[in-house]
Structures are given as structure tokens and as C-alpha cells.
Amino acid sequence: MAVIRMSMRYIRNEILVLPTRVIAVVFVLALLLMPLLTQDMYILRILAIASIFAIFAASWDLLSGFVGQVSFGHALFFGVAAYTTALLNLRLGWPPFVTIPIGALAAVLVGLLVGIPCLRLKGPYLGLATLAFPIMLMGIIFVFPGFFGGELGISGITRLASLRIHEYYIAVVLMLVLCYIMWKITDSKIGIIFHAIREDEIAVRASGINTIKFKLLAFCLSGLFAGIAGGLYTHFLRIAGPSMLAVLMSFQAIIWTIFGGIATIYGAVVGVFILFPTLEVLRAASEYRMLIFALIVLMVLRVMPEGITTFIRDKLERECPRCKVRNAFNRKECRVCYSEMR
């Protein structure tokens, strides 16, 4: 009884006080309860893929949004993990719960290898350098087609789970857990250093902090999460192909994140869950679909330049001028310090 009472108090004091938290909880519950509402395999497929892409987009946000290491070649981590996972599964017969973590570790290693030469680069130079890596890897895939399958990719991989509903829950639960972990990282002391590096790296170094270490850590963490997404995607589709390393794949992560709200983690998730199904809906206009899609994104960003989640949050909530705690827009006084909200 005490537990229930505590839970209710927590919900009332920590969740119901802020509209965005209510929206987040409703979103999570809707995802978890979706199979009770519909067993439509197509809907479950789209939501499962959206969940995998949400991990991928959030991992880009962790690296580029929080640390300011703008990567135009994020598909590298996704692709490395995808191919590692596929090869381990196909050649050695290892199951997904083994291949996906190893694939993610391979992506971490690649994150380290990419991070080191990129440490001295900034802005567009860093962006272009990171763009080169997946293109180089794609070249390697075509140079050794017997091993990597060339343009045909590697197929015949074990599926993620025997039933679609199981695959759905694996993707959704992992997305929720991993995005929560990423969000907590950005909210931790490490996250504060990440923020600081993005805003003024020289000042951080002047404070005695080894920024090289933290930038490499960001590359590795981002690679880890993107790698998990790559492994999941490979087992979900049962193929690893060169299109996983394509420039379009890297750009998608950027578009989703910026649309949702950069440097937030949850913005990347929202961006994917709005834009990915939107592209499905736009099938009716097949020839103009991408054009319509790009126009929608541009129009939304014109009105909401910091992303849809930031825009909604700023409309629904206000920051207390005294203690900086967020409050619902309709409150007249702060819920913590009782200062008057202006």
C-alpha cells in the first residue's frame, strides 16, 4: 500500500506537473501497449524500424548535438556493426544476442579509430572527414566482394526473434532503455563536460580537463549505440548491405535529430517517430514523396527553428526566473520556490 502511495505521489509530483513529461509517459505507454491495440504486422514493422532508427539518431545527437563533433558519416558505425553482426551470424552461426553486442564493440573500436584522426578538426572540416570514412568502407566492401558480398550484401541471417511481436518488443524496449541511458549520460557530469566542449573547448582545457579523452569517449559511446542499432537492423531485415553505409543513411540521422530538436536525445526519438511514418504515409505521391517530405521538414524548421520538441516544450512550459526549474505554462508561481512566474 505504501509503495502504491509513493508511486502515486511520484506521478503527481514529478510527472503530472509537467506537460512534456505527461506526453513522454503517454508515448512510452502507447508503444508498450501497441500490440494490444493492433497486431498488424506492417504497423509493428514500421514501429520496430522506427525504434531502431531512434537509437541511431539519438547516438548522432550524443556525438554531434552534445559534444559538437558534427559527423556527416554516422552510417559508418551502423554499417560496421551491421556487417560484423552479419558475418558472425552467417559464418560462425552465433545468435543475435551474441552478435549484436560484438557488432556494437566493433563500432566502438571504429569510433576510436575515427575519433583519433578527427581530434584536431572542427566544424565543416570535421564533417567532411567523417563523411569520408563510410565511403572508404564501402570501397573496401567492393574490393573484397567474396568476403563482404559486394553490392549484393550478406543475406541469410537469422531473424531477431521468431515472432514479429517479439522483434517489436526487443526493438522498442532496447530503444527506451538505450535512449534513457544516453539521456542520463548527457545529464551527468560527463554530459556537462560534453556541453562545455561544444560551447568553448579552450575554456574547458583551461580548466584542466583533458578534452581529447572526452571527445574520444563521445565517439566511442556514440559508436556503441549506433552499433547496437546497426546490429538490430541487420537481424530484423536479415541482410547487411552496402546501402547501410550510404550517405543518405547518415543524412537521415541528421534530419531526424534536427527536426525533433538537437541536443536533447528525446528530440531525435520524436523526429524519427514523426518523420519515418510520414514517409510511409506519403507513398500516395510516390514521385514527389521526398520533395514533399523535405518541404514539410523545411517549413516546420522555419516555424520551429530549434526543433519540434523544443518548440512544444517552450509553449507548454516556462522556466522559473529564480530557481530555473521548469513549470507548466499555466502556473502563476513556481512549483519549487513559489516565486511569481512572469
Binding site: R45, P145, L152, F251, A263, M290
Partner: protein, 465 residues
Amino acid sequence: MKNQLLFIAVIVLALAMVFGAMGCAPVDQEEEVSPPPDEDVDEDVDEDEEVVEFDGEIKIAVTGPMTNIQGEMMWWGAEMAMNEINEDGGVTIGDETYSVRLIQVETDEIMDPLGAVSAVENVIISEDPHFLIGGFRTEAVMPYTDLVAQDYQKIFVICGAATNELLEGRIDEDYDTWKYLFRVTPIKSTDLVTVTILMLNEVAMAVREELGIEQPKVAILAEALEWNEALVQMAPQIFPTLGLEFVGTFRPSATASDVTTELRGIEASGAQIIYTIFSGPVGIPYGRQWGELEIPAASVGINVEAQKSGYYPATDGFGDYDYTLMTFAQNTEITPETIPFIEKFVDLYGQLPNYNADTYSAVYILTEAAERAGTLDTDAVIVEMEQTDRISAAGRFVFDENHDVTFGPGFVTALGVQWQDGELLGAGWPIEWQPDPENAPDLVVGHEGMVPYQLPPHVLEQWRE
């Protein structure tokens, strides 16, 4: 810093718009296009003619890159068959008559092969088609044949991807899982190789006869892709058996816009023949530069771009005399069905049909199998599909043990086509092909209407000099 990121965002979105304008949709699309044929209003129908009322419909999903020429060809071929079948009274299954209805599925598999699976699953769930046909890019066809066969147990007839592994190693190893897959067009990769080698032999004979060179030199010019890797490795070993000397392999990118270096290398090697293996857009710059630079070597092999009506103008006429493999040619009667099919196709759609257009045969093969089975039950239709023996525009269709179209004399062979003075003509092979001269000297295969292969004039001139 955030402002910089937003600036980058605008750049990325602008790039996305460029991709969009180029038709590079990132995920799959599905769209139902064809209205039920029994609701069509045919203006030419005689008022006295009895209007057929159908008891139901057979739904066939056509999956492919519909905004590209390959997908358009798939759709047009299937549409032509659908209209013919419905106008002829539909398909009789048991005591009932069914119309055929096509569902167009835009998979966008050229740009986003992995997204194609969602489009296919969407159509299966929303429309529940009886059969599926199509598929172009192997990277896309592999996962969606997985889905169709393993998850939904529906018949899928491949009409665009040649890779052996789509059927080999599947049906022969696990029949119950993969029995749903068939291939109608094109013939499988290894058979394509056989045809190109036979075509190469024709060119070698022409070089010997007209240039007096007993052992012609051959250079391989193949796009750097996996599908042709086995062919590139195998071909040099075959050349000596044809009395040819191998001088080297050149591997440009499949999307290269300039192959001058490779062509100059071939010229320096002294080759009289270029054995081309192109499926990608590199085929057009190759054709233009080969003619423009007057490279003294005859061009033969696979050049998918050269199979299209627009190849000649795209190369400014320099692609004339390029010799490539194809399924149909306007002047060639493979079977009595060929010329009427091509003429009707050109009349309706204004373009020569390519191999993807043989979705036409696929629709007939499926509906005839259902008719023979007397049911739309998948397993019963598969049994009848396996018994298929049909004369169609591309040849005689009989499926082998892997559910692949049988290649060889009397079945489907494909043919050589050559651009001659701006016309794409069936030429060279097979005119008087003796598949087994020792054991069956009387077996001679040839198609009516084919013209002899011609060496390009600039090759003749330069070697005679």
C-alpha cells in the same frame, strides 16, 4: 555553436531536397494504381458485345522501382497481359470466372534497397494479393523473398534479378521453405555468361574472316561489382578454348562518367575485341567514348544501357555497332508470339520491351497455373507452376528443379542485339547455333529475322590499314 548546427541542418535539408528532386526516396512506397479491370470503360467495346461479369478477382502485386525504367517495363508488361486476359473473359477457376487486378508497389529499391521490404509487407497485409511478381535489385530482392516465402508463404515470380543465389541453395536445399519462389526473367547469371561467350565467339569469327587475324586479342571491361566477379575470373580461362588471347581486365566504377583511361589502355594492349560487362549507367559514357575515340576494338557482351531505345541518342550515335545481350528484338521472331507482343508493346507504350517487360509471361504463367489447378490455393498453384510448359514471346518456358527458367536450345536462350545505323536489331547469335555439334549435328537453333553481326566500320578501317 547551436546556430552553426542549425546552419548545417539547413545545408543537409537542402541536400535532401536535391536527393528528393532526383527521385531518391529513402524508403519504400506502395501504391495501388490499376482500377479493377471489370470496372474499366472500354470505348472500343461493341455495344452488342456481351459484358463479362466476373465472380472475383486475382490480385497480383507488381513490385519494383516504378519511377525507373525497369519498374515501368515491369508494370507495362504485366498491364498488357492483364488487359488481354480480362478482355478475353478472365480466368476460369473451377466454376467461377475471375478478372486479374494488378497492384503497383513502388519499392524504390534502386536507391533504398533495404526499405523495399516494408513496401512489400504493406501490400501483402493491406491487399492480400494472391501472387507477387517483380524484383530488380538483388540487395532488395533477397530480403523481400525471405519475407514473402518464409513469413507469408505467397508465390513470388522474380522478373528482374539474375543472381543465381536467389533460387540456388534455397529451393534445392529446403524445398518446403522456398518453393514459393520462381524466376521468369532474365535467365540466371551463369546462363547470361554462356550467351555472352557465344556472342563473343561470333565476333571472334568475324574478326578472323574480315581482318584475317587468326587469334584475336580480347580485353575485359567490366564494372567493379560483385555480380560479375565470377564471370571476370572465369572468362580468361574460356578465351583460349575459343582461340582468343586475353590481354587484360579493366574495372571502372558502375557509375563512372569517364572511361577514357580504360579505353586508351585497351587500345594500347592491341585488343581487337572488348568484352563488356555493364549493368550500370557507365554503359552510356562507355558507348559514347568508344565511338568518339574510335577505339579499334569491337564491343560485345552485356551493356544494359545499350538495350534501351534511348541509348543511340544518349551516345550521340557513337554507340552504333555496340553488341549486347537482350531478351527481345523488334526484327526477331523467337516464337510466333514474339513479334505480335513487341508490336503491341511498342504501340501501347512507345518503347521496345526489355527483359523486365516479361512480367507479361509471368502473369500468363500464374493465371494459367491457377486455371489448371482449379483453385487459388498456393500449394496447388505451385504444383501446376512446376508443370508449366508455355510458348511465350521470349521462348518456351519450363521451370527447372530450382524453379528457374530453363535455358537452352528449344527453351529460353536470350539473343544478341546490335545497334546498326541507329536501329537495335537482333544480330549474330543465335542464327545457326549448333549447341552440340558432335552428338546432335542436326540440332540447329536460329531465330527468324536476325541479321548477321557487323564489325564496326572504324574497327575494320583501322585494322585493315
